[in-house]
Symmetry: C2
Subunit: 115 residues, 2 copies
């Protein structure tokens, strides 16, 4: 068993990685809305704070779900993209979308940007 | 939009309901291991504490995912079971199991009790 794992259960282990209220939303923004920059994530309607966003981006990078690279002429400005591992979460998010649309009132997928 | 929702996004909304490290594990225990009693949940390998378990059971009941009823001669002893809404989460947990088994080392589904 890997050090930080609470058990061998695949559900417990995925929650250890991404089981909080914000992490999957950052992945959602990249996967379905094509967001790549810090400022773009801040614009999402749930209102993630800069310190939580910084923390989650770092954590997602450490875990290999996303990769960052400098962009433009500003070498300190970073562009974030999903790795193959990050993209592999698509079925998990898709079943969450299906469930949410079916069982939670007033949920919807934006028409213009949805996948 | 329902009062407690952060946005209309179905992913954000499901995370508002069950996006923490413990809630889905209680549902897992009921769904795949047939657990029904407080003591049974405490025995799970992740080591949930009594106060977190009490909190999550109450919350899951308030949200309509589980229902409780007294059992045996002890009217204060409760038996917890998934409602139809709770059972409807099965596809979400199944895709998490699939993902975990494929992408997280040292995860496994117990042979005897798995579904």
């Amino acid at each position: 068993m890997v050090q930080s794992q609470r058990s061998h259960c695949p559900i417990a282990c995925i929650l250890d990685l991404i089981g909080d209220r914000w992490t999957l939303l950052v992945i959602r923004d990249m996967m379905f809305f094509g967001k790549q920059r810090f400022e773009e994530f801040l614009e999402s309607p749930e209102g993630i704070s800069t310190n939580i966003l910084t923390n989650r981006l770092k954590s997602l990078e450490d875990l290999g779900f996303i990769a960052k690279q400098p962009y433009g002429n500003h070498s300190r400005r970073m562009n974030y993209q999903l790795t193959e591992k990050g993209k592999s979460l698509r079925p998990v998010l898709m079943t969450m979308i299906d469930w949410g649309l079916k069982h939670i009132p007033a949920t919807m997928v934006p028409e213009a940007d949805s996948d």
